[in-house]
Amino acid sequence: DQQVKQNSPSLSVQEGRISILNCDYTNSMFDYFLWYKKYPAEGPTFLISISSIKDKNEDGRFTVFLNKSAKHLSLHIVPSQPGDSAVYFCAASDPSNTGKLIFGQGTTLQVKP
């Protein structure tokens, strides 16, 4: 059973516009979430995170929003740039303190010049 879901396999956005990537989760015990970015032939790199005590975290052009009641989080990229074209993974930290992350399937973002 997929505990973290990214239901949109791909997203295409024009340069300068906003990109919104969505992620849903099923386990209400999840309290820490991360977004990773992955370019082809490279490993994923950490982008931004959010704790359940917050509903928003911002880092430059990247903002993550958390809606605990809906078990939903989203990553906003404003403005989008062609270099943002990559696969984005949403992940939740295992609440059992094992150190594990549970990843979604990923969303491929294409930012067109």
Binding site: N97, K100, F103, Q105
Partner: protein, 115 residues
């Protein structure tokens, strides 16, 4: 150069062969992880380790073996490779902080093809 490295970066093998993928990190992170990435499945955890000599199964451990005799190394062995193990494999590490592991840092990956 500090960081997390994987070798080989590319490997082609045949069904039934034993294959070992290497992972080395220079940060002295206590936690290490092995994932496989497949289309439509994202990143799935194979095995992880909280410290040297402590390993545990992840979501998809069948057909794989791990060991961790030293903190910095975490090799993954496919005992008898099958075509279904064709995938991209990522190693990751993280520190232990305040009772919970922190952000994971990933290696560059190994693309394995089993013929």
């Amino acid at each position: 150069d500090a960081g997390i490295t994987q070798s080989p970066r590319y490997k082609i093998t045949e069904t039934g062969r034993q294959v070992t993928l290497m992972c080395h990190q220079t940060w002295s992170h206590s936690y290490m992880f092995w994932y496989r990435q497949d289309l439509g499945h994202g990143l799935r955890l194979i095995y992880y380790s909280a410290a040297a000599d402590i390993t545990d199964k992840g979501e998809v451990p069948d057909g794989y073996v791990v060991s961790r005799s030293k903190t910095e190394n975490f090799p993954l062995t496919l005992e008898s490779a099958t075509r279904s193990q064709t995938s991209v494999y990522f190693c990751a590490s993280s520190i232990w902080r305040e009772g919970n592991a922190d952000t994971q840092y990933f290696g560059p990956g190994t693309r394995l093809t089993v013929l």
